[in-house]
Symmetry: C2
């Protein structure tokens, strides 16, 4: 592979001058620039990023860390964030990290090697932030999880309240006169989604209790991974354990879709026999038939607020991080039937 040294030799200029051309510095003669650029083209030369970053030429852009690979909620968020950042001419580097990976540790490593201007975390496990975020020195924003209880001056967060969301789900089903409701939650033991499971369950159950409706954790709750197949199994379990069930609340839309098929295979229909409500409000909920009711975390609002924040704080690093709750939106559709209306 051609190096800057080869280009220098080939053009007769020094590597210093070649470097200046590569980095579009103004202090180069027109002639040198042309000669060197031509040879760079011919040789298909691309500067080695390792060497470049080793010199700590800090930060051409913002690094976006996305937690998990096939998460439609987060990829939707990513798309909107990227659009905003693109519109404001900010360079961006997207890094996907596996569910099982500590995204904060990865970010610290990234920071030491690339020194970006700032980080945007789409999804994340708050435990990692609590324990290690002090290693991050640049302005950052956590999106979709709250960091309000952490008080790192360089960390903002924009999130929806899980208790509010699951209360809303409960109210919606109660309004439609459901009292026998099953819940498909994440695994408490894993809780790899940064403490989503506990508050979503708590908000739901407390709301039922407030209305005097009992909830038997042993019978009416089934844990599952945030995927179709496992949610299918969980829904089956709920249907078998609760023959009188009239509704299911799933902690994600994908889980709700898994439950949908289980309901059907159990010989029941949505919403005639079982009403269904999910969480997140991803695009696909509006396309299936019947449309899936959901508690929508508005990705557009989250993305706009987060990018606005990070851009402002990069410009003004003194500015302390904020923690802002974005209101949830109820998407009530034909997947919920009012039991009192025939």
């Amino acid at each position: 592979m051609a190096t800057i040294k080869d280009i220098a030799k080939l053009t007769g200029y020094s590597i210093g001058t070649v470097s200046r051309v590569i980095n579009h510095r103004p202090d180069v003669s027109q002639k040198a620039r042309e000669t060197i650029e031509k040879v760079i083209q011919e040789q298909h030369f691309a500067p080695n990023a390792n060497a470049k970053f080793l010199k700590r030429v800090h930060a051409e852009g913002i690094a976006i860390f996305v937690k998990g690979y096939g998460n439609l909620f987060l990829t939707d968020l990513l798309e909107k964030v990227q659009k905003d950042l693109h519109d404001s001419d900010t360079e961006t580097d997207v890094v996907f990290v596996d569910e099982s990976v500590d995204e904060v540790r990865e970010a610290i490593r990234y920071q030491n090697e690339r020194s970006p201007k700032g980080f945007l975390f789409l999804g994340g496990d708050t435990r990692h932030f609590k324990e290690e975020f002090d290693g991050v020195k640049v302005p950052s924003v956590l999106v979709s999880q709250s960091a309000a209880d952490m008080s790192y001056p360089n960390l903002s967060s924009y999130y929806c309240d899980d208790i509010e969301g699951s209360s809303l789900a409960a109210e919606t089903l109660i309004d439609a006169h459901h009292t026998k409701i099953g819940v498909i939650s994440g695994y408490f033991s894993l809780d790899d989604h940064g403490n989503i499971t506990a508050p979503r369950l708590r908000g739901f159950v407390e709301t039922l209790h407030r209305h005097g409706i009992p909830f038997d954790l042993k019978k009416q709750l089934a844990e599952a991974r945030f995927e179709l197949k496992d949610a299918y199994r969980a829904a089956e379990q709920l249907l078998i354990q609760n023959p009188d069930l009239t509704a299911i609340f799933a902690h994600s839309d994908i889980m709700a879709l898994g439950a949908y098929r289980a309901v059907r295979d159990h010989g029941l229909r949505v919403p005639e026999d079982i009403s269904l409500i999910g969480y997140d409000g991803i695009e696909i909920t509006r396309y299936i038939v019947p449309r899936l009711s959901s508690i929508r975390q508005n990705t557009k609002k989250l993305a706009d607020a987060a990018t606005m924040d990070i851009l402002m704080r990069i410009r003004n690093p003194r500015h302390p991080g904020r923690h802002v709750q974005i209101p949830l939106e109820l998407m009530k559709t034909d997947s919920i039937r009012d039991l009192n209306e025939p």
Copy 2:
């Protein structure tokens, strides 16, 4: 941030010895190892990858390039590939590249900076491979697209035949006595999915013609991006232009889902009024109601074959690449109605 130099100073050993400990070399005394590891822990020291790779310590693993962010077919493939590679104790680095980015150029850059043992491309634009793959020097596999017409000795490909797949879709609809069929394809002008659009259309139309069934490109074809919203619009267009339509073939499952909602909003039902068949056979097709018929590219088989190949050729680099077609599978479900059965 702590560097290897700091660790050396703190422990009293030289940076050479520290380096040996970091890289788990055997030629270090037990005492030195313990002392140094302890300080590394305390300092939260992590070696700078830029510096590390600058020395070309080639290749601890395989780099997996995934084309596009929210593609469920490719993330499914990724999951399976990763499992296989994990089972064989191979390190892996996943890189997602945007649809609009030249994945081969990125791979060449990656190769020069990280020198991996091999590349796995999940999805890709064959034009980039034709034009630039000669810059890639390590064993590679392209999955889901054919590179049979390229003859790079270090490139294998595992793919399903698009003409066969779309013929199968056509046969399936013809068997069910459909003759008025609309097609939702990708954009010919963009063709960012590596020439998927042309063969999928060709196989379909030729099969219709073989059966003496006419196809009016102007009326019966609607182009769209591979997403819900645009496919919805395309389907609407087809329904309006062809009031006698009885079936729709979409070039991806996601497109088919977009079409499904359009059919419904048009006051029609699947499969009673419109039969529907998609392409890819992603998991979600088996969960919606009615299940979506599809031409399935078996991700398990593709993943297994691709990982087997890359591991073998890394071990034996002399071995030339192969180009293997994986058979498609028809998933015929209740989204297709036989017009002759009431």
